[in-house]
């Protein structure tokens, strides 16, 4: 009878964990506080609409339309034209971060517009920090179109049709994917969950061991699976609180569109939270003390942050990094969150990302139960 999973023993652990969580106000505050602080920090950077960004002009034309273009950009207040310079000088300034943008106006720009040849204009951007350049880049086409709409002489107005009189090209240097706020805020959900959920259970067993309560627990008939699942369940609720906070902030603070099915998102979040909690439990069966457990959690968090596609575009990473990243649940969860929230993906579309999370959770859980020692040996 005691060999099988007992619901009442499992429930005893769950209740105990709840009481301990209730008593440990500081940790609980941290669990709610971390997503809020992260959102505000990231959100501030995203929400800011940087203006008067330093801009250099490389003008090989010198004609009136070149001046029209530069004037329109200055008027928009996004661009602060510093100087007119040479190609070499501009390239250096961009590299050194002295300027955010370089506008290259080709030879014969004015003449070719008048001939209707749609000359190419290249705007180079230092997109290292996409939050800095994104608003300006989003606005540039409208700025250019409306500038020429005013200044083109009557017979050439048709040129300003769908394609516009100039072929305006943007080249983002250093960060081609150009992550936007829509990308970051949903991604933050996965990052916050990874950060907090792994740590909280990584401490679960080591704390019992350090406080000496493990000896008592082991002397009772409680089974490893009852302890494990009993310790995971209360924190799933904490994870749900975090998910809800982030969704609310996405919607009402950052106005991120939520197109997809929220119930589906919560369902996958359950799996993802459980996967991270199981990972934490595994750490806590390996770690000798609480400090080690926290360090292990951190070493798990770091690659998750770096290789999941949250920080750097996933496709931009070398193959080995992609392989490593694919093993991490955060990588798949990010795709699910973005897919469901932004693209309105359904079960069929996210299925390829869900099973790796489930697999990860099962493996972590299996290792945890195997590693859980029922004796003090």
């Amino acid at each position: 009878m005691s060999r099988r999973f007992s619901l009442s023993r499992f429930w005893a652990i769950v209740l105990k964990e709840f009481i301990q969580m209730k008593r440990d106000r500081a940790t609980f505050a941290m669990m709610v506080g971390i997503p809020l602080v992260q959102l505000l920090l990231f959100g501030y950077a995203i929400n800011s609409d940087p203006k008067f960004l330093p801009t250099l002009i490389v003008d090989a034309d010198g004609g009136p339309f070149a001046r029209t273009l530069v004037q329109a950009m200055t008027h928009s207040e996004y661009f602060d034209v510093l100087d007119v310079t040479t190609e070499d000088g501009a390239a250096r300034a961009l590299k050194l971060g002295e300027t955010q943008f370089v506008l290259n106006i080709p030879v014969d720009f004015t003449r070719r517009i008048l001939r209707g040849e749609r000359p190419a204009v290249l705007l180079e951007a230092d997109a290292t920090d996409p939050a800095a350049t994104a608003p300006a880049l989003a606005a540039i086409n409208v700025i250019v179109q409306s500038a020429f709409a005013r200044d083109l002489p009557g017979p050439l107005r048709p040129l300003n049709g769908s394609a516009g009189p100039v072929d305006f090209q943007v080249h983002r240097h250093y960060n081609p994917e150009g992550i936007t706020q829509y990308n970051v805020v949903p991604g933050l959900m996965g990052v916050v969950l990874t950060m907090t959920m792994v740590v909280i259970t990584a401490l679960a067993i080591t704390r019992e061991r350090e406080r000496g309560t493990m000896e008592n627990l082991l002397a009772t008939p409680v089974r490893p699976s009852e302890v494990m699942i009993g310790k995971i369940l209360p924190y799933i609720i904490v994870g749900y609180v975090q998910v809800t906070l982030i969704l609310l902030a996405s919607r009402f603070l950052f106005h991120v569109p939520i197109i997809g099915n929220l119930a589906l998102l919560y369902l996958v979040a359950l799996l993802f939270i459980a996967a991270n909690l199981a990972m934490g439990i595994t750490f806590s069966t390996v770690a000798k003390n609480q400090l080690q457990a926290v360090q292990m959690a951190f070493f798990f968090f770091l690659p998750s942050l770096l290789l999941s596609g949250f920080m750097f575009p996933f496709r931009g990473m070398p193959e080995w990094a992609q392989v490593l990243g694919s093993a991490l649940p955060l990588t798949h969860f990010l795709r699910v969150v973005r897919g469901v929230m932004l693209k309105g993906n359904g079960i069929a579309e996210i299925a390829p990302e869900v099973w790796p999370i489930a697999l990860f959770m099962l493996v972590a859980m299996f290792v945890a139960v195997k590693r859980y020692r029922q004796t003090l040996d």
Partner: protein, 307 residues
């Protein structure tokens, strides 16, 4: 006969690394007995108890506890044993009631609510049931631990130094309770460093350096030590003690308040050494050896043999 043995193990050995902490110990404890486990610090008492209740796996040896095999049926043993750890090991951030309730749930105690209430009443913890266990004084923690160990009505109690740091009155009450439980058929294995507690046990065993040196009733243990003890009174005992130590035939010279206890395993040379004292300012008389004299003598012999 053997069916009423609650603990029946033999040759139990435990090593940590290359250090043998429990060395081939055998122990038989009958139902309803209060069995005292004594021995100096680090002698292996806690380690032995942990092997009995399935917390450690013996490296060698075999036997049964409550009729279950100590090596293979640890899960069954755990259900019927109440183990009180040496260090307080309940949840300090849970209240007294919550701790008891947790344990009752874990053991699947029928009528859990009544069991918790009953145990709170019996231990006089009812008024403070909402106090966090971590805020209790040492003595009250011990009482809580005992209450928690008993809540699932175990058939065997393993108590590891349950009275360390407990005041004399509380200790007396504790022992009265242990005797009541024992009269009701509960078997108790208890470790202690107190001689008066050893004398309240039905049987005692003495360990040193992982070896079982002696066991039996208090009287048997004292008799089997074949120790002769003298009590010396008179002026300037510390100087006399210094002088007597190391003299032929004298094994132990220990100050006992205003007297000196001298013990010997070999009374003939000891009598010769002590003879001059009988004529001087000191008085010297033969007394029956106490348990403590016996234990100290055993420990010193063990040190010579096993170190």
């Amino acid at each position: 006969m053997s069916s009423d043995l609650v603990i029946d193990v033999s040759d139990v050995t435990k090593k940590f690394g290359d250090k043998t902490v429990v060395n081939g110990i055998g122990l038989q404890v009958r139902q309803g007995e209060i069995y005292g486990f004594l021995g100096p610090n680090g002698s292996g008492k806690t380690t032995f108890i942990r092997m009995l209740c399935g917390l450690l796996t013996p490296d060698a040896g075999s036997g049964t506890c409550l009729g279950y095999d100590v090596r293979t049926q640890q899960a069954d043993i755990k259900r019927h044993v109440g183990y009180m750890t040496q260090k307080f090991s309940f949840y300090e951030d849970l209240s007294i009631r919550e701790n008891l309730d947790f344990i009752a749930r874990i053991y699947g105690v029928p009528g859990r609510h009544e069991a918790v209430e009953g145990s709170l009443k019996r231990l006089g913890l009812h008024q403070r049931s909402h106090q966090l266990a971590g805020q209790l004084s040492g003595g009250w923690k011990q009482r809580l631990a005992l209450a928690a160990c008993l809540i699932h009505t175990p058939r065997l109690l393993l108590l590891d130094e349950p009275t360390a740091g407990v005041d004399p009155k509380a200790r007396r009450e504790f022992w009265d309770e242990i005797h009541q439980l024992s009269a009701g058929g509960l078997t108790v294995l208890i470790t202690t460093h107190y001689m008066d507690e050893a004398e309240r046990c039905h049987q005692i065993a003495y360990l040193a350096y992982g070896n079982l040196l002696t066991r039996g009733t208090v009287a048997e243990v004292i008799a089997s030590a074949k120790l002769s003890t003298w009590e010396i009174t008179g002026p300037d005992l510390p100087a006399l003690a210094m002088r007597l130590r190391g003299q032929p035939g004298l094994d132990e010279v220990v100050a006992f308040g205003n007297t000196l206890h001298v013990s010997s395993r070999d009374p003939v040379p000891a009598e010769q050494t002590l003879a001059p004292l009988r004529t001087g300012a000191h008085r010297c008389r033969s007394i029956p050896p106490g348990l403590e004299d016996v234990f100290i003598s055993l420990m010193n012999t063990a040190r010579d043999n096993f170190k």
